[in-house]
Amino acid sequence: MPKIILEHVTKRFDKFVAVDDLNMVIEDREFITLLGPSGCGKTTTLRQIAGLETPTEGRITIGDTVVFDSEKNINISPAKRDIGFLFQNYALWPHMTVYQNISFGLENLKWPKDRIRQRVSEMLAMLKIEQFEKRYPSELSGGQQQRVAIARTLAPEPKVLFMDEPLSNLDAKLRLEMRTELKRLHAETDSTFVYVTHDQLEAMTLATRICLMKDGVLQQYDPPLEVYNNPANLFVADFVGNPTMNFLPGTARVLDETHAEVTVLGRSFLFESDAPLGKPEGEDVVLGVRPEFIRLGSGGMEGKVYAALPAGMETTVQMTMGDQLVTSVEFGSVDYKANSPMRFEFHGQGLILFDKKSGKKLGRGSATQR
């Protein structure tokens, strides 16, 4: 049903490019998150799809309808795009009660009175806000306001639901709860969700696919685990994952299609890629190693413990080797003394080799010390 297609969508504010030549396809019933640092153009993208902002160039299709085309001068109003929009600050109407806020959209659809009544009650029950029906928004807490906003957005059963950082105003606990609720909501309704966030964990846990942006340019558009395990470039690798990936600068010499000799941390490794290696722009490379791919206690490298941060379920250990800081994660709670020597090695198939100059991924695989 509603598949959303963006083709060459560009938005300029005067000379400033907020969104640059964006192409993406959102399949029916997907849960997409637009992820990226503040100011990278997430909100602008979302508002363009919703029709609240007019793109400078490009074409947007929702379902079978072209809703925007700069060349053909098509621009369908948001009201006709059959969408729901959840605003970051909720945008509840202060002069309407909770009930009136929710029923407003249904009245616009000319639903009969009793059906409106029924649907509103349903929404109030679903979001557990029945007792607030007669209150005004200013008489509700942030979390309650947010539920009202969700109820208002969902009531007309939109086929596509847009959300702009809906959880950013909530406290940590409520945020976690609402996250679960949203995921359930997605399972229960059969709508497509497009969700804006700058919180990578939120994006990872909610989405079926993540669209990662930087300075208005799409960086990677993949399922969360793919983004995590197979980042397209240094920016993506750095943005996703906590603790962040280790970036070890060094040099590389390509041996054959899938092998290269990589020198990092003053040692030489044989890098074996699981796919043909990309072509580096120079000698300089960065070896990206997720903390879980560093095994402590044995191996050919030795560092000094800088700090150990046990968090119960796992322990983050930071070591120095020369002037390089290396982070690893151990399962379970272990404590290491600061400044004690520590041997470690790389393991697994998930190391990433990046070209330093372009930041692009060259290959993914294992590195064995020579």
Partner: protein, 610 residues
Amino acid sequence: MRNKKTLGNSLRAYFSKPANVITVIFLIVLLLTVVLPLSTLLIGSFKVNGNQEAIWIDQDGVEDGSWTFHHWIELLTSKEYNYASTKFWAPLGGSALMAALACVVAVLFGGVVAWFITRSDLPAKKFISTVFVFPYIMPSWSMAMFWENFFKNTEINAGMGILQSVTGICVPESMVYGLVPCAMSLGLHYAPFAYILIGGILRNMDANLEEAATVLKASRFKILYKVTLPIVLPALVSTVLLVFSSSISSFTVPFFLNKSSINSGNNFVSISVQMRNLINTGFTKGQGYVVAIVLMMFSIGILTLNNWFTGKRKSFTTVTGKSGQVSLVKLGKARKVIAVILVIIVAFFAIMPLASFAMESLLEVPGDWSSFTLRYWLSREVFEGSNKGDTIGILMSPTMWKAMGRSLLLSVLVSLVAGSFGILIGYAVARKRGSKAATLVSDLAFLPYLIPSMSFGAVYLALSYTKGFTWLDGSFILLLLVGSIKFMPFASRTGTSAMLQLSGEIEEAAIVIGVPWWKRMTRVLFPIQKSSFISGYLLPFISCMREMSLFVLLAASYTTLVTTVLQEYSRTGLNQASNAINLLIIIFVLVIQFAVNKLTGASIDKGVGG
């Protein structure tokens, strides 16, 4: 014993907070300067004021100073020669109608422009919003003067106006003098005020509120009347109420446009003009006070209504939520057309009055360019007014220049006093939000706004005749006192809204590191809201500089102000000279307002936003 000690302690604790000290001080000051004079007025309406009045009333046992209900009964109910009807009810009804019309004009004109400026992609916004506030900066009678200059014609024996000299059209007298022209000039004068209030809310209003309705398939019209209008309604109501209460008691405009011959049917005596007549005759002073009280009750009722309306449950506080993007309504093809039309209209009402004043001051015979003369600017001929030393050319008149200097000094002092008081009151109200004393202070500080200038002047005139206060009579101090109190509402409104925007934490951050109160005010709070606070100084300055009705009763021959000089020229029929002075005042005020705006970023449209 112990009880006393705890009382002492709690008093000391109470007064250790600057906000409490300020509240108490201003409570006392306002009781003395606002409540006391008002009660003298109230008492005056139940007393016989002077022997003339006693003779006029002509009842047994009635003498100067005795209590009586006569003023109220006579004025409100007397059927003799239709007295109550002609002296009170008809003028009141007429003024109410005039004020209502003025509201419609101001709200429609101001509101529509506000919407275009804040919500659409109209070009030339800067020009429109700058020029649009001109009529509000001008003295309130300017629009009336312009109206007359524009529409008057030889057919009604009033000299040739601009319209006639350009097109030859002679409009009927009812379009030149009387109720409708009064209402139109007041409406045009207050339209910028409506623009400032409504625009302020629209600018702060979260655009997402409208977008949320768009997404939920509400039509444009429905969004306007179900979302936008209800949200700006408090501002709309405030505007209507304030414009109504200012208009109904306006003196200068009806005074100026009440020149038609008695029998033409366009003779419109407003309630404020009536009030002045009653007070001036000497034997109906008490009845004049009755009118003043009725006008004030109107205003106070309106204020109460306003407070009730904005204080309701569906609090609109959430409106100010900041929205990231404000998407402007695309006007499409109409964009340029609307802009051109607005620019023309706005420029017409801002610049044409100035041009017309200049023209009037340069023509011996109105509308006749062959009678061009600089006499009323430069001649040294002696002018036989009541002010000694006046010359016909206003630029040559030492009296005029002295009065100008005095006005300037007065306005500067008034703005300093009113502005600083406003900031202090704002501070106390913001810190002690919701406390009874603070609310009372804030209401009392606003009360002078609702007292018609004319009656406010009258009150203080009465005070300066009272034993113990006679040293005030005609003095500069009296003018300063009256001006400061009368124009404080602007400053206290601005001060309060600016202070409310500063969270208490900003000050607390300074308290914990031991910064004394005075320094917190001058080094922390003031700089943050500098432009708002300076607007709080600017408004009283401008209002004082152009004020006439407030001072007209109070200024003595040795304390003439530029506006009273203007009135003197106008009274003696030297229209050219009064136009010239008016132009001079406007240019002066405009220049100062622009200079302050350029230097500090403060502007009057920031000021009233409360």
